[in-house]
């Protein structure tokens, strides 16, 4: 009764591997379907401003700007040495 297909012994490992493969295939198909659905589902924006707001939220600021700015700002506002440092020659 355990032989489902003549000539093919269905060991527990074989069954598990088949099941795993089936699950993977199913989840792959599911992902593909979800991708297609998300492609076909349009986003709607009532006004151009809403569209721009969405775009702005998904537009990151290049981190290089902060680095450059830090270097530019640093030398401008360097503090004077305190009197005791000047006195001690530091």
């Amino acid at each position: 009764m355990s032989r489902l297909i003549p000539g093919l012994e269905a060991s527990p490992n074989t069954i598990m591997k088949s099941q795993h493969k089936l699950n993977s295939q199913e989840s792959e198909q599911e992902s593909a379907v979800l991708r297609e659905i998300s492609k076909e589902t349009p986003m709607e924006f009532a006004t151009p401003e809403e569209l721009l707001r969405h775009d702005a939220l998904h537009t990151p600021v290049p981190p290089a700007i902060a680095h450059r700015l830090g270097e530019s700002v640093g030398p401008i506002a360097a503090p004077r040495r305190p009197w005791w440092r000047r006195w001690l020659g530091h």
Binding site: E44, P62, I65, H67, V73, P75, P79
Partner: protein, 199 residues
Amino acid sequence: MSEPLAEREQSTEPGMTLASTEFGDIYQEHSRAIYYLALRFLGDPDKAEDATHDVFLKAFRKRDQFRGDSSWRTWLYRIAINHCRNLQQTWHERHMLSNADDAVWENTAARGDSPLRVLETKELGQRIQKSLDGLPAEYRLLLLLVADEHLSYEQVATLTDQTADAVRGKLHRARKAFAALFEKTSGDVPAHTRSGSVS
């Protein structure tokens, strides 16, 4: 945050990073808005990066001139608008009136009140940039400023040197023009990713 920065921040010590300063807080809060304006107004990421850096550097140097009668956001926008306009100024823009462009949109199907439908987000930025590039600079700036929820129509009016009513009127035309251009850009997208018709 209306207190002049110079009174709160005595100095930045050598080696101190931007993030550890109060000006760094201002950068953190407003950099996205300024960068986005520069990016979409100038249409070039490299120019936008330089412009954003220059705007905040200018703001830092002139921070003692900030009297707190406007918000930091509007003050930074003022600097950014002037900076970007100077970068874009050509003989044509200095001498040709923008009103002549209005006639182009009058014959366009009235889609100013229709929702904008987007199917693929992958090329959305390109479509938006292309649409903005097709607008007169005045309309482009208006849409970008109004898109910032932190700005009221009155603040937008002040930044663009006109009345709030004028802003509302031009905004209607700017929306219509943008929608027409945006719809055209959908033709540039491959067929399998094209969105449905704009209602």
